[in-house]
Symmetry: C7
Subunit: 78 residues, 7 copies
């Protein structure tokens, strides 16, 4: 494996820093989930609490969600 620059933020390290904070997640099926990140693993599987799902039409509460990483397009800290 190659060396990575000391000056950069690894993607998983930013997830680590987002633990117990609110994030927004864009899924491949175009839904957006918002909630508090309470866990993740190296495949970007995540545990989200107080989750709300937002589509173009509606919003609804999902509570605690285990999300499989391969459905995820992008993640943003809120």
């Amino acid at each position: 494996m190659r060396e990575f620059s000391d000056f950069m933020v690894m993607p998983l390290a930013l997830l680590e820093k987002s633990i117990n904070k609110r994030i927004s997640i864009l899924l491949k099926d175009t839904r957006v989930l918002e909630g508090k990140l309470t866990g993740y693993d190296e495949y970007m599987n995540m545990v989200i609490e107080e989750t709300e799902e937002r589509t173009a039409e509606q919003s609804r509460r999902l509570g605690v969600v285990i999300l499989r990483g391969n459905n995820v397009v992008s993640i943003s800290p809120l």
Copy 2:
């Protein structure tokens, strides 16, 4: 492999805690399955008992189901 925070809930650990409890599973084909989780493996393949399938149109009983993890979008404890 990198270290994970002690304070977080790993996705598979939350599945472990859900054993013998009812969960709701969203599949890639947009179906929702509800039932009692009685087993899983590291690929998120799962064994569900007393399973009910719900689509926009209908609901029906499926009994015991072995579900392949790569069809799963997300899982919520009920």
Copy 3:
């Protein structure tokens, strides 16, 4: 690898218990196969005997079938 609970049913163990019994298999292409499970491997490739295929329109006999696991959504003992 992490430890799994003693109290749960691993997905492949349930396949093992279904050997020589009738199962129903839902495929990604929405077809349903029913037949006697006579073998499987760790990828959930399966050997099914006395197989019948059922779609919304029709039913037909397929005899012995080797099924690739990556086409499978879920499996239910009958």
Copy 4:
């Protein structure tokens, strides 16, 4: 890896027994190939001789075909 039952037929073992015999192969693109299986590997890549392709509309001879396993849904001995 876990132990497999002595009483079952592993999927690749059934391919092995089908060497030099005629098989029918259903592909993901819904075509059906029929021909004599003369080889395979652990990815279910196969060598088929005297191959005939059948779609809903027509049938045609393809001769010798190397088929990539990831296009295969299921295989049946004839």
Copy 5:
């Protein structure tokens, strides 16, 4: 790994025997390429020379082509 029969033709061995010979390749996007196979690797990536592409509508010369194996459905010696 399991033993393979001595009497069969491994898929990659048939590619090896096709080196410097003309082959026909069916791609997942339904195009057909014809040309002389001058190289391949274990992923079925291939080097084709004097390549001609044929679709339902037209035929055109592509010259030398490096083809990624995961786009390939099947290969036939000509």
Copy 6:
């Protein structure tokens, strides 16, 4: 593994050189993201800051984004 030429620019090395610079990213869902690259890993997962999303219809600010590499088609330094 095979040797690579000394004269060429490895794809990940060009990402390394783009750290803290603005890049444009084309996604499989046809969206274009522009922003400052602040991190990446060997799967081309990336951390983008001051991100703007542009579709054919509109443009909007996304702030900090963790982007999963398997959604990426191509990346261009700006």
Copy 7:
């Protein structure tokens, strides 16, 4: 791993020989990119300079592009 013939051209070796030369790349989304290949890795990720994109409707300059290999169908030296 099996032995490969001495007489053949490995796909990655042909990429190596194309360094600093112009190539044409067909993508899965049907676009064609033309430009100078300045780098690649074992996944066929590539660095292309002086890149031009051509679709059925139009042509436009993209400059330097890092292209992920899993979007590539085929590559031709120009």
